[in-house]
């Protein structure tokens, strides 16, 4: 996949288990192998609680997997500690979901944007104002905003500030956890455009989490579909509508409400509910809700197998 592109990060067999009550374990991520390429976007979709955030937090070392390795340019970041880890943070930044929760309410925008630079002593205190203006303008905000507090801004503006902060260190990778889901659609659109523009300009790799397949396919180069801690399908971003193979991916596609859809047709949806991550069934995790469930599905867990070079699926039907 993306032969011409440089692979900068690779996760190998990443698994995260949380101890739960009654001696049970919650497997939030189960043997995840994904790759990030320079200047490309990896979209991660799945239902709430399937482990997307847990996985993405590994990349920025806010948490550590219980098993597996995460290699950034060959170095395992799960093994890093202290100053080494801190230095490594320059390369991987993150934008959070809730634009109101990701800023210290007591700090001015200027200080927020310059904080990463100050942390690595890249600028002096006196340069703050100019630098903040530069980055604000980069995310299409007026430079005067440097003097504001986060609560004096709208959600969309805040999310721009968050992006400005993330790119300040000129990272190679930015992780975005549902970075637009708290925003209105019109704002969401401008943010996505901004992100895409910046990505092109600075050649950043992006890991983007979303619920919305429609949104993700609009700018992701590669999409990973996650279900109950497992990656069930990895496919190229372009033609997800046509080539999605996994029944879960298809169910997701069918559940999308779209203004261009046929309003007379009954909406299709997968029956049932996502099981609790504590009770992941043996075999295929999707078996309970799958219309094409076979006998083998309840016995054996399907492995990701390549259909084409860029399209992998974990389903016994393929």
């Amino acid at each position: 996949m993306f032969e011409n592109d440089e692979m900068i990060l690779e996760t190998k067999h990443v698994t995260r288990k949380f101890p739960a009550s009654n001696n049970r374990t919650l497997v939030a991520c189960d043997d995840i192998n994904l790759k990030l390429y320079k200047g490309k976007t990896l979209g991660l979709v799945g239902e709430s609680g399937c482990g997307k955030s847990t996985f993405m937090r590994f990349l920025v070392a806010l948490d550590k997997p219980t098993e597996g390795k995460i290699l950034y340019r060959g170095k395992d970041i799960t093994k890093m500690k202290g100053e080494e880890l801190r230095q490594n943070r320059q390369h991987i930044q993150m934008v959070f979901q809730d634009p109101s929760g990701s800023f210290n309410p007591k700090m001015k925008i200027r200080d927020i944007i310059c904080e990463p630079l100050m942390n690595f002593r890249k600028i002096k205190a006196g340069e703050k104002d100019a630098v903040a203006r530069k980055y604000l303008e980069m995310v299409d905000l007026p430079g005067e905003f440097a003097n504001r507090y986060p609560h004096n801004m709208s959600g969309g503006q805040r999310q721009r500030v968050a992006i400005a902060r993330a790119i300040a260190l000129e990272p190679e990778i930015i992780v975005m956890d549902e970075a637009t889901c708290a925003l209105d659609v019109s704002v969401q659109k401008t943010i996505i455009e901004l992100i895409v523009g910046l990505q092109k300009k600075k050649n950043i790799a992006i890991g983007f989490i979303a619920h919305d397949l429609g949104l993700i396919q609009s700018f992701a180069h590669q999409i990973a579909v996650m279900y109950l801690g497992n990656i069930v399908e990895i496919l190229p971003g372009e033609d997800i509508g046509e080539c999605a193979k996994h029944p879960y991916t298809q169910a997701l596609i069918h559940s999308i409400f779209d203004v261009k859809m046929d309003f007379t047709k009954q909406i299709e949806c997968a029956e049932g509910e996502v099981p609790s991550p504590l009770d992941v069934p043996v075999g295929c995790p999707f078996q309970d809700r799958c219309e094409a469930c076979m006998e083998i599905c309840s016995r054996e867990k399907p492995q990701l197998i390549p259909l084409t070079e860029e399209h992998l699926v974990a389903c016994h039907r393929y």
Binding site: E47, S48, V185, K189, H211, Q217, G241
Partner: protein, 261 residues
């Protein structure tokens, strides 16, 4: 059936929604869309007389079946709420006492409106309602606490509660925005069946234009506490002439739509 006439709603004297009018017929589904803070919740809460802290209708009138709601006594409100007009919320689970079982909530609710019904009968009625909302194993659910149910289930229980007395009007405040896409589809389907089965009118608040478009007969677009645009669904979606509506529609991502890369 419901007519909102030129209503202005203020919080602490600050008008938040101004000159809002709307008229709804039996069996219609209306959607209120618009960006957050535009006053959608405020409007439908005003209909049920449940404006939060300091909210007041300062101008205009709200008529339900010809009667003004604004002068209602608390007795009259009680008779109306949960009977002729019901409401479901973004998270119906949070709208139930977390320390009571679903059953108790049902029983309390039913016995509020039917004075002479025994607990047992109320309980059975609850089970019946749950099963009508295609929630199998009603008895089990009745014995559960809200936090023990998944989001989708809780929302369905909320709908079952709201539909107990087959209200003429159902107000829904973003009933699906906390749900996953697959569950959202299930709930939307179910709400549409309500209209078909019971002839319930629905006012649906959402910021998902897709859902609004799919469900409703009539769409009202709000902006800054005012109606920006309104019209029948097909007109609004297919041939909008308001620029704001157009930009909203253009912003909705869709499969096979714009790709930036």
């Amino acid at each position: 059936m419901l007519e909102i006439r030129d209503v202005t709603i203020s919080y602490h004297g600050m008008p938040t929604v101004t000159d809002f009018s709307l008229s709804l017929e039996q069996g219609q589904i209306f959607s209120l869309v618009g960006e957050s803070g535009s006053g959608k919740t405020t409007v439908i809460r005003a209909v049920l007389g449940l404006l939060a802290g300091g909210g007041k209708v300062t101008k205009g009138d709200i008529l339900f079946e010809g009667n003004s709601l604004l002068g209602n006594t608390s007795e009259q409100w009680r008779a109306l709420r949960g009977r002729d007009i019901s409401m479901i919320f973004q998270d119906s689970g949070a709208m139930m006492n977390p320390t009571k079982r679903i059953g108790s909530v049902f029983v309390e609710y039913i016995r509020t409106h039917e004075k002479n019904i025994s607990k047992k009968e109320a309980w059975n009625k609850g089970i019946m309602m749950l099963e009508r909302m295609r929630l199998a194993n009603g008895d089990n659910i009745m014995r559960s606490y809200p936090f023990q149910l998944s989001g989708g289930m809780r929302q369905r229980v909320g709908i079952a509660l709201a539909m107990t007395y087959q209200p003429k009007l159902l107000l829904a405040d973003e009933p699906t925005s906390a749900l996953d896409v697959t569950t959202q589809a299930q709930i939307v389907r179910q709400m549409m069946e309500l209209r078909d089965e019971y002839g319930t009118s629905i006012i649906m608040v959402t910021h998902n234009l897709g859902v609004a478009a799919y469900m409703s007969d009539y769409i009202v677009v709000m902006k800054d506490g005012k109606i920006e645009d309104e019209g029948n669904r097909d007109v609004m979606i297919m041939e909008p002439d308001n620029s704001y509506t157009k930009s909203l529609l253009a912003a909705v991502p869709s499969l096979g739509g714009v790709r930036y890369v």
